[in-house]
Symmetry: C2
Subunit: 645 residues, 2 copies
């Protein structure tokens, strides 16, 4: 099977720009070592992870009690995956040695029949496969496969790969369409996309076929999940019902994104992998329907998804409250995964745009600038007193917390950052597609030669991008690149001469010609500050605007603009200027403009026939993903505007 | 002891106007009989109350199992109180016979020592007085006292009075300041104000003193409640902590209204009774501080209080979300109780205004026009799909429910409606104060004669009120009446001749003169439609207006204005007209005006630099308390306005 377009192996990409390089190095220098300590319960004052200890118990090396969540193994797996990518990015023999040691331990924890899950090995062995819906056995298997594939790519060592192959081969004796096997599928999707990676690295179609089985089986009624013991209980809560698991109807009848947002987008990423290799029209159409629903009905402007804390889930079309948003960091990461795979099916502006939107806003907001603190939940509006007080804001933190207190988002950010190189390009026989603008140097094998493409840019702050080529010989192929939806105009030069950009398809500009060594294409996107308004169906944004420049969504913070940000009205018709941000954020573009602020001094709660006094103000907005780095305070993305209609 | 001003006994008031008479008759004809069936578990399909059955068990007449909430007895007590008022309003020998029978049963359920509580008599006798914080023994005692006093007033029969006196005398052997007694106070305030009623009817100061003890003892630290067994658990939930019970600090150190809203205002009503009889400056000042906090910081424009479902409680100043409001019907009723008592301390516009505001808006919205369905929770904004779906809207019903499904608000409305006559006036030696404008005929004993005052009005729809007097002889005294804050101008005529209204104090107009038989005062309030705006500190109402005419707050409903009410912008500068409401609401004034509505047809979720199209519209608003009587649909009180600044 062959995909329409392939991603580029991480080994061939070197990221060079200031913006991303710093973050990737944070992952290497801060997150990965710190997480290692956490997994080993070596962080004083932090809740112990138990993850490594559980493997030691399962391996028979100690006889402590297995502790932690049922999905604790996946924390180690995600760490292994991030560590493996990091080895590619920046080889470190000590880290490799550590990883080798862990893999050895994992091998010892694997059961003779291939089973690999510390919780059900040690704590509740009688419940193995008894609750596939909630047991997370298949979820943990998926993360372990992703780790194995990453480690294999990094080192060509198949130590972990052998372990997971043995495990999956065992799983296939338990689950599947054959008589006597369990007809089930992952309660938390993840194994689907992992099986595709396993297929890609082994060439064994049976892994791909198992993934297809999961997709086809999902949601058939009466649900296999209802026959399991524990769902009866969860079933009493409508937000944790079958749709929480995307299992309420067959997947090919699902028109709207329902349930737990991370589960949903991991699943859709797996479905996209299916289409990538099979060109299935049925599933392609299904994905387009679901994409449209997520992106045009249920996504925050930041690329955040899941607008309810309870169930961490999707709710209803246009139901996007800003203050009680969930918008889990992991869900935006999953959206990036999904978008990346959609781009391999068909390069379309919406996929690249949303990937970029999620990356620069909803994902990066999850991490503090020093890489040490995290948001799980990414609201678009913050009043700390309210978030800290109100019961319906319980899920919202008013400040980022030390990442060790929780186990899912930090390593997910780490594995995304350390593998960012695979999101920039895809290619097929004769076309190199650029989806993200990131300073990097990448080598492509195209038309029987190695092409080295060097991208230089100060993106996302600048719209200027140069792409220069090193060729072994001149040849004809196509460079395609995404024109972001926010850039109405685009200026393209080839070796200093303006070129026409009339070959645009689905938002991608195609330059097909004979290329020569040292050709340089420069692109200039329009970095105008946009006043974004929501579809008027979005109740919470009625009468409000958000500021966006390039892919970056801005916000107002209390530290720059005082309290009561809801009393500020932006003047959308006045000149707005881009200026250097406050120095404690580094020298990044802030936006300054004028407006008014209602006086909050009147003492009456209700006033008859009287408008509040307004003072003229200057306001300053900073990138949303930088919020919360200067202490606790109010923050607001959707701003009231002076209405001149 | 003598109060500054006394209420008028219900026996001397006959309500005659269309607006209230119909509602009081609903109470008599619908609510009271229906509730009786409910208390006897005779409503097919409804959850059984068990209340009467529990008394039969406690009386030894049957040996079933005691069921229902720990405070189930109070449902019967509230019914007895409402039934007693109804006997005054409209004597019914059958109803009196029923009440006599129930009182006989209650007497049999009373223990030899005087104890009277079916739950702790039958179900957990060993826990008597073990958990005063949550046990509701004192709360139920309070309601039984109120019933006893009401029945005595209605019939002069002291059968229930004797029972509660025996109970309270027993309580005083258990709780109090003496050595060896429990130093505690009600977890749910209610007994406080009931003890004052008992004092008023018996003249026994020991009951008043017990109330004072409860007020003085409340909130002393370390809290007696923390020594009880069950609060440890509740204590883990910050919204059910000591402040939930107004027990976090001594009451005379409480500057803000905290905790469960019903508990709070019942307590404040008791405190006001204390001041009424003692003129205590300390407690008067405390009440003024708390009143100011509630009314100027924590009250919805409807007189709803309690802006969080979890804990049914107060939250923070200016934290007044409209869609997830709690604004329990009972809390608005409690606010009426409190205001009524503040008026007896000192007639001030704010007390009368808030009493009226709560009555015409937050209380009446609790009941359907046919008197058969109820809201516990009174949101100021409704999108049914959202309320029915979102977890953080769980406490909000999108439609009123049959009142039998829940036990607290319906009988509370019933007892308020049937006793409305006591809220209209107060008097002292030489002044009759009019606080509410309600058609009625009332007799006062003033200056050694009986004065009959006949109030005629079509209030709240009309601002015209006439008050005519029947006197035995001409005499000098004062008629004082409230000038509502919403009426900037006021026209007063005496026997057809305009009189000066320059003697105004605290928002009350004082007419002191010699009055003659058949004198008629007519008052005309200004019924201009007001555009009300919130203090700009209220986040949820920023840029919005509410419509108010007279005391009545208006709202838009979907049935009149289509869906997506958030897309409507009112033109506050255009002419608004008062017209007859849709016929299915009866012939009441609706408000019509013009504005625009944003087109909700665009399909993109986010639009760059583009304003939504707007269509000119006419809209129609109806009184908030009438909403939800024409099927399920959107509703909105706070409306966006076209901003001409």
């Amino acid at each position: 099977m062959k995909a329409n377009a392939e991603t580029i192996s991480l080994k061939h990409v070197t990221i060079t720009d200031d913006f991303w390089k710093g973050k990737i190095e944070l992952a290497k220098d801060v997150i990965i070592p710190y997480q290692w300590d956490a997994l080993n319960d070596n962080i004083p004052g932090a809740a112990p992870s138990h993850a490594i200890e559980n493997f030691r118990i399962a391996a028979g090396l100690t006889d402590d009690e297995c502790k932690g969540m049922v999905f604790q193994d996946s924390d180690l797996a995600k760490w292994l995956e991030a560590a493996s990518y990091s080895l590619i990015y920046n080889y470190d023999p000590e880290l490799e040695k550590t990883v080798d040691g862990v893999i050895d331990l994992i091998g010892k924890a694997q059961q003779k029949d291939g089973y690999l899950n510390t919780y059900f090995t040690v704590k509740e062995p009688e419940k193995r496969w008894q609750d596939v819906c909630h047991g997370h056995e298949l979820y943990c298997a998926g993360h372990m496969i992703e780790a194995a594939v990453a480690f294999y790519e990094a080192t060509k060592k198949d130590s972990l790969l052998k372990i997971v192959i043995k495990y999956v081969d065992y799983i296939m004796t338990v689950i599947g369409s054959d008589e006597g096997k369990l007809k089930t599928y992952p309660g938390h999707p993840e194994l689907e996309l992992a099986l595709v990676k396993l297929y890609e690295v082994t060439g064994e179609e049976k892994y791909f076929d198992l993934m297809v089985y999961f997709i086809e089986e999902r949601g058939k009624q009466p649900s296999v999940f209802l026959k399991e013991s524990s769902l009866g209980l969860a079933n009493n809560d409508k937000w944790f019902n079958l749709d929480y698991h995307q299992a309420h109807v067959s997947l090919d009848e699902q028109d709207t994104a329902e349930g737990h947002a991370v589960r949903a987008v991991y699943l859709y990423a797996g479905m996209a992998d299916l289409v990538k290799y099979t060109n299935s029209e049925k599933w392609k159409t299904r994905l387009e329907i679901l994409w449209e629903n997520v992106v045009e009905n249920r996504m925050y402007i930041t690329g955040g998804i899941g607008s309810q804390g309870h169930g961490e889930r999707f709710t209803l079309d246009y139901d996007l409250p800003n203050n009680v948003a969930y918008a889990e960091t992991c869900a935006s990461i999953g959206l990036v995964f999904w978008a990346q795979r959609m781009l391999q099916i068909e390069p379309k502006q919406t996929y690249g745009d949303v990937m970029e939107k999620a990356l620069y806003n909803g994902v990066l907001s999850g991490m503090s600038l020093d890489g040490k603190k995290y948001f799980y939940v990414n609201p678009l509006e913050m009043v700390p007193e309210v978030a800290d007080y109100r019961h319906d804001h319980q899920h919202v933190d008013s400040e980022r917390v030390g990442w060790f207190g929780c186990a899912c988002c930090p390593p997910n950010i780490a594995r995304l950052l350390t593998s960012l190189g695979t999101y920039i390009y895809t290619q097929n026989e004769d076309t190199i597609y650029t989806h993200l603008y990131v300073g990097n140097q990448t080598s492509f094998h195209i038309k029987d030669q190695q092409v080295i493409l060097t991208q230089k840019t100060n993106y996302p702050w600048s719209g200027k991008v140069s792409m220069s080529m090193q060729l072994e010989r001149s040849d004809t192929f196509t460079l395609a690149f995404r024109q972001p939806v926010w850039s109405k105009n685009i200026k393209v030069m080839l070796n200093g001469t303006k070129v026409a950009t009339d070959t645009v398809k689905n938002g991608y500009v195609y330059l097909s010609q004979q290329w020569h060594h040292q050709d340089e294409v420069t692109i200039e996107f329009d970095m105008t500050i946009h006043m974004v308004r929501s579809n008027p169906k979005v109740r919470e944004n009625a009468g409000k605007i958000a500021l966006q420049r390039g892919p970056v969504v801005y916000c107002l913070e209390e530290v720059d603009n005082g309290k009561d940000l809801h009393a500020v009205k932006i003047n959308p018709d006045s000149q707005m200027t881009v200026m250097n941000s406050p120095s404690d954020l580094g020298s990044i573009p802030a936006i300054q403009g004028t407006g008014v602020k209602e006086s909050t001094s009147p003492s009456e709660l209700y006033m008859f026939d009287q408008k509040p006094d307004e003072d003229k103000i200057e306001w300053q907005a900073i990138p949303y993903c930088y919020w919360g780095n200067r202490g606790k305070g109010e923050m607001m993305v959707w701003l009231r505007e002076i209405d001149r209609n």
